[in-house]
């Protein structure tokens, strides 16, 4: 009786572990397959020239340098606008806002902001930044548009990271006559910065991959040269990938995969950076 009971429990345990392992495989295997498939198909297009030259013949030859640079500018532009606003809002929401219906409404709005389709942000950017603010179809309008979209993430991660700082630290500081703002500035923010940074870099890598909104506010398929000012139009990897895949007849397959590979590599690079930042901060 008790023997079979133990045996059945043992079987249940084995089954549960098998189920969990299968779930992990289901997640990991497709990712690995995608990456292998991209490398296998795109590897042959990669070369120094591909990374350092401008496209020629509608992208069939030449390189993708302007798109790489454009995407880097976009990522930087996004974070320059989204991080300060995100951190400030995060500080306000976690440290100062009272828990009343206004705050709950704001938190709800931020949650919903994260769910708004990116093309809607594109239209918002076109209406507000391109037309109303008269920034034109430009790098800066696109950065602001992507920053609006990234806000939901930077605010949420900042707020969570700040809230997670133990109250003992705050009390220790306040109890020796340090003001509330100084406490936030010198005790809370240093503690919260790894979390804030993680959110910021994730927001950046998401901005790197956005296609729909930037088409509406200034990305172009072919631009002569690199953007010289924030008010220039620009190229970007995801839009370049979209065009060479869908709109240019006779495009060699390895070029499409090569563009995708470069984009993924950039995003991956930033994600590895996040992991390293986290690791470094945990060592302290």
């Amino acid at each position: 009786m008790s023997g079979s009971n133990i045996k059945s429990r043992y079987m249940t345990q084995k089954a549960a572990i098998a189920l969990l392992a299968t779930a992990v495989l289901l997640v990991v295997v497709p990712i690995i397959l995608i990456i292998i498939y991209m490398i296998a198909n795109g590897y042959s297009s990669l070369s120094w020239d591909f990374l350092t030259q401008a496209p020629a013949q509608a992208g069939k030859t030449g390189g993708i340098l302007p798109a790489i640079i454009g995407t880097i500018y976009l990522m930087l532009g996004t974070i320059i606008f989204a991080l300060p606003v995100g951190v400030t809002a995060g500080i306000y929401l976690s440290e100062y806002a009272r828990n009343n219906w206004v705050t709950r409404l704001v938190n709800m709005a931020i949650l919903n902001l994260a769910g708004v389709p990116s093309i809607v942000f594109g239209l918002f950017g076109l209406g507000v930044f391109v037309m109303t603010f008269n920034l034109g179809m430009s790098l800066i309008a696109a950065s602001l548009t992507l920053a609006s979209q990234a806000l939901a993430m930077t605010i949420t991660t900042s707020r969570e990271a700040i809230t997670a700082v133990p109250k003992e630290y705050r009390e220790g500081s306040l109890a020796i006559g340090v003001s509330r703002w100084q406490t936030i500035r010198y005790v809370v923010l240093p503690q919260a910065s790894p979390g804030i940074l993680t959110g910021a870099i994730l927001a950046m890598s998401r901005a790197a991959g956005e296609t729909a909104p930037i088409i509406v506010v200034g990305a172009a398929f072919l631009v002569g040269g690199l953007p010289g000012s924030p008010f220039d139009r620009f190229m970007a990897l995801p839009y370049h990938l979209y065009t060479v895949s869908a709109h240019i007849p006779g495009m060699p397959a390895d070029i499409k995969w090569g563009v995708a590979l470069v984009l993924i590599a950039m995003v991956l690079f930033f994600n590895i950076l996040v992991t390293m930042v986290r690791f470094e901060s945990r060592k302290r």
Binding site: Y169, E171, G172, L174, I176, G177, Y186
Partner: protein
């Protein structure tokens, strides 16, 4: 001298440092509410300059709430409300115009769980002075050394000031927290069960430290440990929960009196270990 004369020119709403007033801290008919719940009621007592006052009583009787009246730490709780008079050097610290930050500089606090900041030992002690505007490296060095000496920690950490404040033992961490408070040169030190997370030897070190500090500082300590109250304090306040769940002051007097000749039957029951 009236209160207006005592308020210093910086307009902090507080009296000048070490003003010549009888009684450093005073409570008069104080009630503290959290929302509609009255945590402590009708507290009245006087605390002398350069004395150690112990607040004892069973769990949940409002000892910590009472302690936090003196540096307005209850302000951090949105629903908290104070009625009655809480005086520091004869000035009502809950009246409009009192600079709470300045008050806490002069009425410092040490907590139950040692809470050094996750930074070096040096930076922990220098934290308060730096925030209060001292930038000079030599001046900071002096303050750090003096505070660590006062907190009886200097000899143990003088060779590793740049190590994390979290890397030392619990007892050392608590003395580091005391040094951090001493570095801003307060007049009063509030201690909220400072030894409850420490072993007996570390506890004795903190108690010795309190006895030395009492020559310059007024100390108020909340403790669960009655032997500790008997060992270190000059005065003892015994709190208990009343029928309506609010903490009340049952007896307040010289520690020697409270522990040898309590006037109230409840005090006697508590200190002889019949409950609590």
């Amino acid at each position: 001298m009236n209160i207006a004369d005592l308020v210093n020119e910086k307009n902090t709403g507080l009296p000048p440092k070490n003003a010549p007033v009888d009684g450093k801290l005073r409570l008069e008919q104080v009630n503290l509410y959290y929302g509609s719940f009255r945590a402590v009621k009708d507290l009245s007592l006087d605390i002398d300059t350069c004395s150690i006052t112990a607040i004892i009583g069973p769990s949940g009787c409002g000892k910590s709430s009472m302690l936090r009246l003196f540096n307005r730490m209850n302000d951090l709780i949105a629903s908290a409300r104070v009625e009655g008079l809480v005086e520091f050097d004869g000035v009502d610290i809950y009246q409009a115009g009192v600079d709470v930050v300045e008050l806490r500089k002069r009425v410092g606090m040490v907590f139950q769980k040692p809470n050094p900041f996750p930074m070096s030992i040096y930076d922990n002690v220098a934290f308060g002075p730096r925030r209060h505007g001292i930038r000079n490296k030599r001046a900071l060095d002096e303050i750090v050394e003096k505070s660590l000496v006062q907190a009886a920690l200097w000899d143990e950490v003088k060779d590793k000031l740049d190590q994390s404040g979290l890397s030392i033992s619990g007892g050392q961490q608590q003395r580091l927290c005391i040094a951090r408070v001493l570095a801003v040169e307060p007049e009063v030190i509030l201690m909220d069960e400072p030894c409850s997370a420490l072993d007996p030897i570390a506890t004795l070190k903190i108690e010795d430290l309190m006895r030395t500090l009492t020559s310059t500082y007024t100390i108020v300590i909340v403790t669960h440990n009655m032997q500790q109250a008997a060992r270190v304090s000059d005065m003892t306040a015994f709190l208990m929960v009343d029928d309506d769940r609010s903490g009340t002051l049952v007896e307040y007097g010289a520690t020697s009196e409270i522990f040898t000749n309590p006037k109230n039957q409840k005090t006697e029951d508590y200190i002889t270990g019949r409950f609590g």
